[in-house]
């Protein structure tokens, strides 16, 4: 279980998170939605210890990741996988090498075993014949799938998705969402997913939290959010210009 307790984080004079509280249960897909610049990506980076909060604690299975350093932090991070917004594939390596990379670096498996696992993983994301290509030769959707394969290869118990469908066409958005659902069913990980895809993300999330101006203002099932009467949430999910949220 992930527990975020009263977390504050600022950059310079800009206060990005102002007391975030959130709980993610084991095995669920928690979608975090909110406007651009509301602190969603910062929250994901805090969850995996890439940045540290100025106040508050983040408990992963009861252990505060903010208090971990060195090998203990590495040990904790081995439970995680992360799919970055742009994929963050290593551009000097082929797709196959990218997917095999975590196994080569973190396990003592033989080359044959690593190759077999990487090929199987590429097949499960629909990139069976693309292993020899470099990331620059892939389309946006393929990059996301390759990044998902890399995130899944070590079978982590928690996967963080940072806008996994941004910039993709509506069909690819559904395809990536379906891939997340399928792999979630197969591997049983806990997913925290930051997304702007409203209402598509509600189809795959088990729970949704809306973040606004550095605070979680609503948390519940997708149905709860869709039926919310809060004018902030209504304006956001309906994408209206009029309402309490200033468009620009």
């Amino acid at each position: 279980m992930i527990q975020v307790k009263d977390v504050y984080r600022s950059f310079g004079t800009q206060q990005v998170l102002k007391g975030v509280n959130l709980q993610v249960q084991q095995g669920e897909i928690m979608a975090i939605v909110g406007r651009s610049g509301s602190g969603k990506t910062v929250l994901l980076k805090l969850l995996i210890g890439l940045i540290r909060p100025q106040r508050g604690e983040i408990l992963i299975e009861g252990e505060d990741i903010c208090q971990l350093y060195g090998r203990r932090l590495d040990k904790m991070r081995e439970r995680f996988g992360m799919l970055f917004q742009g994929g963050a594939l290593f551009d000097s390596m082929t797709v196959f090498d990218n997917v095999a990379f975590p196994l080569r670096e973190k396990t003592k498996l033989s080359s044959a075993e690593i190759a077999a696992q990487a090929e199987k993983m590429l097949e499960s994301v629909g990139l069976a014949d693309m292993g020899y290509k470099f990331p620059a030769e892939l389309s946006g959707g393929m990059k996301k799938r390759a990044a998902l394969a890399r995130a899944l290869i070590t079978a982590p118990s928690i996967i963080l998705f940072d806008e996994p469908t941004t910039g993709l066409d509506p069909i690819l958005v559904r395809a990536i969402h379906q891939l997340i659902v399928d792999t979630h069913r197969t591997f049983g990980y806990t997913a925290v997913l930051v997304s702007h895809e409203i209402p598509e993300v509600f189809e795959i999330a088990t729970r949704v939290a809306m973040i606004h101006e550095g605070r979680i203002i609503e948390e519940g099932t997708p149905q709860d959010i869709l039926q919310s009467t809060d004018p902030l949430i209504r304006q956001f999910i309906e994408g209206k210009l009029e309402g309490p949220i200033r468009p620009i």
């Binding site: 991070r77 081995e78 992360m82 970055f84 917004q85 742009g86 963050a88 551009d91 000097s92 973190k106």
Partner: protein, 271 residues
């Protein structure tokens, strides 16, 4: 036009002074923080070199990139520098009837000063800039964060192999520059201008000592460290997209070159 009252003028001057001092203070704090980060990266980069796994393959790859791929340009630099030294040295020494000293003059200039400095500047321009750009692009495309997420230390993975490669490669390349430079001087001095071959090498053997070679070695070692450290630092702390990468690359080359020259003066005055 409204006249500014004396009290208003005083308030404005005080306000300007405060703004100036604030900006100055902020610049000083930023500079100190940057120096702290640089030192931190150097210490971490060096210490990780002694912690297994040693990533020999990455180190060899960087040595290949920094050394083998710079070889042609380094050899050309060495040959033509030696030829220029031979030519200038001959005309100068000829005025005093001391052309026999051409060999030692070329060799000492190259081994103690010009070889290490030119080699470091050439490698900085060729490999250091590429190093800063590569790490910078990895930073802005989240590849460095991806390494951290995989529980791999980015400093150990990216910075340490470059620092080790810099320490190994620069002395080796400098030795090559020295040798080809001496032969460049030989081509001009002996083959074109008629200094005796035995005189050229004989006087060199008499006057160039192990101490001169040691000075050149220490210099090239420190230049290798400076170049790889500064270029890695600039790449590692790149910000703001493509423009940030270009800025980091330029700063890496300029800062490394300046520090190499400063360090050269320091070594020359101390040793």
């Amino acid at each position: 036009m409204q006249r500014v009252q004396p009290t208003q003028w005083k308030v404005q001057s005080v306000s300007l002074m405060v703004t100036f001092l604030e900006t100055l203070g902020q610049k000083a704090i930023d500079g100190l923080a940057s120096m702290g980060r640089m030192l931190n990266l150097l210490i971490a980069g060096l210490l990780w070199a002694f912690v297994p796994p040693f990533r020999l393959r990455r180190i060899l790859r960087q040595i290949h990139f920094m050394g083998w791929r710079s070889l042609l340009v380094v050899v050309l630099t060495g040959v033509f520098t030696g030829m220029v030294l031979g030519l200038q040295g001959y005309y100068t020494l000829n005025k005093f009837g001391a052309t026999a000293m051409l060999g030692p003059a070329v060799a000492i200039s190259l081994i103690r000063e010009i070889g290490p400095v030119l080699c470091a500047l050439v490698v900085t321009g060729r490999a250091g800039s590429a190093m800063a750009a590569e790490i910078g692009i990895m930073r802005i495309t989240d590849q460095i964060d991806a390494l951290a997420v995989m529980a791999l230390n980015p400093v150990k993975y990216l910075v340490t192999p470059n620092i080790v490669a810099g320490l190994v490669t620069l002395p080796l390349l400098t030795a090559i520059v020295d040798v080809v430079g001496i032969y460049g001087g030989y081509v001009v001095g002996v083959l074109l201008l008629g200094v005796g071959q035995g005189v050229y090498f004989g006087e060199m053997q008499n006057l160039v000592g192990m101490h001169d070679i040691e000075i050149g070695f220490y210099k090239s070692l420190s230049f290798g460290l400076i170049m790889s450290w500064i270029c890695c630092y600039k790449g590692y702390h790149t910000r703001y997209g493509a423009e940030g990468v270009s800025k980091a690359t330029t700063e890496a080359v300029v800062m490394s070159s300046v520090w190499i020259l400063i360090c050269d003066y320091f070594w020359t005055s101390v040793l």
